[in-house]
């Protein structure tokens, strides 16, 4: 039977189930199909704590939210329209986010007395009418799947496992998603186990047919492709984009890349990604700890490699001393901090922006570094290249502040033409024998004689005759680099190191402000991963007729040269941060402007609706 088709402009689906139910996979696949179909989208995986929780418990619930639309969107959405609940725990953990009237697809097989009590349901919510306000689709997903796979020579366990594919098929039908990609995916994923492969494909198709044939769903939905800027697209997560950006930077600079890293959530995937890319000649070193990881990267940088280290908050603490050494010896180093909720171990799988002040100031002595923050998953790519550019050109550590939300969240990403990528070779060169301050032997080589433009010292790598030199963490005489305890030299070097970083402001793009009408008196200034939520909030406000400008900082140290002017142009500056006001403190301290902080430290991205309200209030009082 053909069903009525309804057009929608946007949908938010949340897949929720037990860690073992494969919801992340179902979500990923649905996302891929949606991307391929051409909708704009944004995703928010929500993992339970790192550690596995017992099946069926609340802490064991894993969810994946996908927001897709026929227009461009900026966030994974605040509240889902559809909730897929594979068990009672998933229902209980997520029902509060579902607005009344929303769809619930529940796997009735899991709503057993035992599972219900596990999460504190006295009665079965699917039956006691407590869900009357919603559109409930109660489906025995597990048993239907098992039934559909009876013909296959696989274990009951494997048959049950396929239930996520059944659900996926059902939803693909419901939202008219293409299926080819998923079929191809299953073929390659289970290439080794053909029977399992066929079973999963069958489950997927059974789900599709179930949607098409049963009475359960009266309408099928269609969401037209979005009109994104033309180009070749893919869906990409922040960690993958960051990894790819680093690889690109290595190729664009002609430098061998060395990664020294110690696993830590949510940064580990960068190490995993890069470990796969040996074909690019990348050396990945899983160190014994973070200190060794950054130390090895610095050693490689001394040898002329693009030295990179990746970590998260607790690991950043441990790298501080070595980053300080990199500042003192003035060598290039790219440090990626994928922020997570702190302090201490905090909530490893949750996002936060509270490492900014540590990145800026968390080292002994005057130890200035460059700090960059990507604003979207895809932007991690460009940020990585820019970090490498600055590091090699100015011989300085550059810290990239990503976070758990960017790391695991994904968005469609326009694949750049290689020809559009910057040529980093032109940005730096190794000191050559007879080159850099005449090391033809006539004069001694001066490892700390600075380039007058960049204030960078020569990068003279071992193996270059005539440039033999010794450097270290002790204060050095300007020029010669010899150990110096001279008071005035120290003051000079402290200021030179700072001046070198400050000077980079002249080599970065000015801060752009999005203020279409040009009549805004309120500026919302953000940094890093809040770009999407702020952007979405700003849109809402504008749709509601409010005038508001939005600017977003990628460069936290140094600030763009025009930042002061931008700030002065507005009556009120609102700075939303997922911390207690790090950027706000620095802005106020630097520019003496009474910026208004908005802070929520919940381990989650801001809700656009929430921010929109805040912006409205600021406008009202402006």
């Amino acid at each position: 039977m053909t069903k009525q088709v309804q057009q929608l402009d946007r949908v938010i689906i949340r897949f929720a189930g037990d860690s073992g139910d494969g919801m992340q996979l179902a979500g990923d696949r649905f996302t891929q199909e949606t991307a391929t179909f051409g909708n704009d989208l944004s995703t928010l995986p929500n993992f339970p704590a790192e550690i596995r929780a017992p099946a069926g418990t609340l802490p064991g619930v894993s969810s994946f939210q996908l927001h897709f639309a026929d227009h461009d969107i900026l966030t994974p959405g605040d509240a889902p329209d559809v909730l897929v609940a594979m068990n009672p725990a998933a229902l209980r953990a997520n029902i509060d986010d579902l607005p009344r009237g929303g769809d619930i697809i529940a796997n009735t097989d899991e709503f057993t007395k035992r599972n219900l009590t596990k999460v504190g349901y006295e009665a079965n919510p699917l039956e006691d009418g407590s869900l009357d306000g919603y559109r409930l689709h109660a489906i025995p997903i597990t048993s239907v799947t098992v039934k559909a796979l009876e013909g296959f020579a696989i274990s009951k366990k494997d048959a049950e496992r396929a239930k996520n594919m059944f659900s996926l098929g059902m939803l693909c039908w419901l939202y008219s998603r293409p299926a080819e990609g998923t079929l191809r995916f299953l073929e390659s994923k289970f290439a080794a186990k053909p029977e399992i492969m066929r079973a999963n494909i069958a489950a997927f198709q059974a789900g599709w047919n179930f949607g098409e044939t049963t009475e359960e769903f009266s309408v099928q939905y269609e969401i037209k492709p979005a009109t994104l800027p033309p180009g070749q697209y893919r869906n990409i997560t922040g960690n993958t984009a960051l990894a790819n950006g680093l690889v690109a930077a290595a190729q664009l600079s002609g430098l061998p890349m060395f990664l020294g890293s110690y696993p830590i959530t949510p940064a580990s995937d960068i190490l995993h990604e890069l470990s796969k890319l040996k074909r690019f000649g990348i050396r990945t070193f899983q160190a014994e700890d973070e200190i060794s990881g950054v130390g090895a990267a610095l050693g490689a940088a001394f040898g002329g490699a693009l030295g990179v280290t990746t970590t998260s908050g607790p690991g950043m603490c441990l790298k501080a001393e070595t980053i300080g050494l990199a500042v003192a010896v003035e060598l290039p180093l790219v440090v990626c901090d994928i922020q997570r909720a702190g302090p201490s171990t905090g909530m490893p799988t949750k996002t936060e922006q509270a490492d900014l002040l540590m990145a800026l100031y968390g080292r002994n002595g005057e130890s200035p570094v460059v700090v960059l923050a990507p604003s979207t998953p895809g932007d991690c790519f460009a940020t990585a290249i820019e970090a490498a550019r600055i590091a090699v050109k100015y011989r300085t550590p550059v810290i990239i502040l990503s976070d758990g939300y960017l790391a695991n969240g994904s968005e469609p990403w326009r694949i750049p033409d290689l020809s559009d990528l910057p040529d980093l070779r032109s940005e730096f060169s190794f000191a050559a024998p007879g080159g850099a301050n005449g090391a033809d032997g006539s004069q001694p080589f001066l490892p700390f004689l600075r380039d007058p433009q960049t204030l960078a010292r020569p990068w003279a790598i071992p193996g270059t005759p005539g440039l033999e030199h010794r450097i270290g963490g002790i204060e050095k005489a300007d020029g010669t680099g010899a150990i110096s305890y001279d008071p005035d030299n120290h003051d000079k070097m402290v200021r030179l190191r700072q001046a070198k970083i400050d000077g980079i402001a002249a080599d970065i793009p000015p801060l752009e402000v999005d203020d279409p009408a040009g009549d805004a008196r309120v500026l919302v200034l953000g940094w890093g991963s809040t770009f999407g939520s702020i952007g979405a909030a700003v849109r809402r406000v504008r749709l509601a007729g409010g005038a508001v400008a939005h600017a977003h900082l990628r460069y936290l140290s140094p600030f763009p040269a025009n930042l002061a002017d931008v700030l002065k142009r507005y009556d009120k500056v609102l700075v939303p941060e997922i911390n207690l006001g790090h950027l706000a403190l620095v802005l106020r301290g630097r520019y003496l402007i009474d910026v208004i902080s908005y802070n929520r430290v919940r381990g989650m991205p801001f809700r656009a609706s929430e921010l929109a309200g805040v912006i409205q209030d600021v406008i009202a009082n402006a």
Binding site: G38, R234, E288, S292, P416, R470
Partner: protein, 361 residues
Amino acid sequence: MPEQTESQTAADGHARLASLTLVPRADHQQSTKDFKSDQEVRWCPGCGDYAILAAFQSFLPELDVPRENIVIISGIGCSSRLPYYVNSYGLHSIHGRAPAIAAGLADSRPDLSVWVITGDGDALSIGGNHLIHALRRNVNIKILLFNNRIYGLTKGQYSPTSEQGKVTKSSPFGSLDTPFNPLSLALGAEASFVARTIDSDRKHLTSVLRAAADHRGTAFVEIYQNCPIFNDDAFAPVTEPGARDEHVIRLEHGQQVRFGTGPGHGLRFGPLGSLEVVDAPDPGDDSLLVHDAHVTDPSYAFALTRLDSTDFAHTPIGVFRDVERATYDDAMSAQIEGVVKRQGAGDLAALLAGSDTWRVG
């Protein structure tokens, strides 16, 4: 970056030391003074570091490596000042981290000869973790540990090699710590090359440096070093002409172990894997130990290290262990080459595109 040069044998035919097969040869004969930097050497008068530095500088030309391909990385401590005095590339890093930094360099630059200079505090106290991990990975670096059994630079606190009960600034009533035996620790950490020598014995010191350079992988060399200021004569029993000969056991691969004056002593394994001293042994007695630095099982070398005691009654020096094992950096290069062979060199455009793409407009 300079091209990696192939393993080669010199015109003069003599083979390359094992750690240097990928390191270019010097195009001219270098001399000791080529390795002296313009920096004025700054240690206390009489410091054992002077002797080690001198021996090291006069040994370096032997490597037949252009000085620009030699890198010396140190941590923090009196000993760690050494790089400043050698005219090669040098990095005086931070306390305890030299092995980690050196590993990163050695892993990415097989064309360099990388040396780590460290102290008993630097390597065994704050740096202990990097040391043991470098050893198990067997990175191609040479670690010279200047053991003066004291923290010199910070003016005299006890170190992880100070004898228990030692009275120092930080242990006015005697230290409580049982010291490490650096060689036992290294062997427990899967070290492939372990040796010991003495600052004042230039000839022996040089021979051990040579052996270290001829080992592909991490070479761990403990050098007894006298600190006249804060721990003078700590090694008197093994350095003073009189005592020395009675206490020092000179290990020579393939030689029966004999030491002491007069009829002297030999060694023999006891029932439970311990080495026992045999007095006035009959050289013909084939239960006497013949030193074999190449046995795979480290149990043998470990037993040798346990002969030491704080009174230095019997102190072996020389190469305890020298076994071949794939080095981390070689394996890293090989893995990359292998993958490139199988998968072809990486294609950036393909990487960026990934698997699932679609076209818009």
